[in-house]
């Protein structure tokens, strides 16, 4: 019962602030509401017993990516961009299409809600022995070791790419 109440609270915060992210005129306000959405999604992860992922969500998303967004917003002119036109000419048709999409997905999920299987009882007992972080870490460093290394290469490439893109042009060029 309390899980359901927590789910409704976090889901309401997440959806409401997500709508505010895409409707605010000022980019800084959008970034603030994006932070609220990310915290609410971390709460959703907690109701799903993903404690490690909730921590990663807050540290990486809120502490890393969102701070990066705010840095870039501060580096570029906020006042002038707030005066520009905010929406595309295609916004009505986009809204209608997205509305049809969400109705279709929601209807399909609601009709097929009985097909989402419940876990067998033995697996639940085994899962309770080890902690969440321990299980995630063990799987990450054994079964998914190669994807983990590839992810670290990806991050290295992204760092180099970001520096190259954002650096000043030298006299040589």
């Amino acid at each position: 019962m309390i899980e359901l109440a927590l789910f409704y609270i976090f889901a309401t915060i997440a959806v409401a602030s997500a709508i505010l992210v895409i409707t605010q005129h000022n980019v800084v306000h959008s970034a603030a509401f994006l932070g609220a959405t990310l915290f609410a999604v971390a709460g959703i992860f907690l109701t799903l017993h993903g404690e490690f992922l909730a921590g990663v969500q807050i540290i990486v998303y809120v502490g890393g990516i969102l701070v990066l967004f705010v840095f870039v917003i501060m580096l570029i002119a906020v006042d002038r961009t707030a005066m520009e036109r905010q929406y595309n000419r295609q916004w009505t048709i986009a809204l209608v299409t997205a509305g049809i999409l969400i109705l279709e997905i929601g209807y399909g999920l609601y009709q097929g809600k009985d097909s989402f299987v419940l876990p067998p009882a033995a697996a639940v007992a085994a899962a309770a022995v080890a902690g969440n972080s321990e299980r995630v870490g063990t799987t990450l460093y054994t079964v998914y070791l190669l994807p983990f290394e590839i992810a670290s290469i990806l991050l290295l490439v992204a760092i180099v790419g970001a520096v190259v893109l954002a650096k000043k042009k030298t006299q040589m060029e």
Binding site: E3, A18, N88, W91, I105, G106, T139, A162
Partner: protein, 100 residues
């Protein structure tokens, strides 16, 4: 216990809000934020099924999704800064030249 399809409908709603943001806004920063919203929706789905099937694989995949999101944000914001140096705008409708 919260029914699984509640989480899926929440994720679908967040994903659709992200799509609306990408399709309707002109400010490139808000478009990048909408992409982050969509990645969060995917993560909710992965972790919901990870919990319901009692397998930790979904959470490992969510970590990879977060990694890709971080890389995407770094490169995307680098592009935004390079673009702003050249064009002094964040309006995507004014960014229509490959070279000038």
């Amino acid at each position: 216990m919260v029914p699984t399809h509640y989480y899926l409908i929440l994720a679908a709603a967040l994903f659709t809000i992200g799509i609306i943001g990408v399709l309707t806004r002109r400010n490139i920063m808000i478009i990048l934020m909408s992409i982050e919203l969509m990645m969060n929706a995917v993560n909710i789905n992965l972790i919901a099924f990870s919990d319901r099937l009692q397998q930790v694989t979904g959470q490992v995949f969510a970590i990879f999704v977060i990694t890709v999101a971080a890389a995407e944000a770094a490169v995307g914001l680098g592009i935004v800064i390079a673009m702003f140096k050249n064009k002094e705008t964040m309006n995507i409708n004014e960014i229509d030249l490959m070279k000038w």
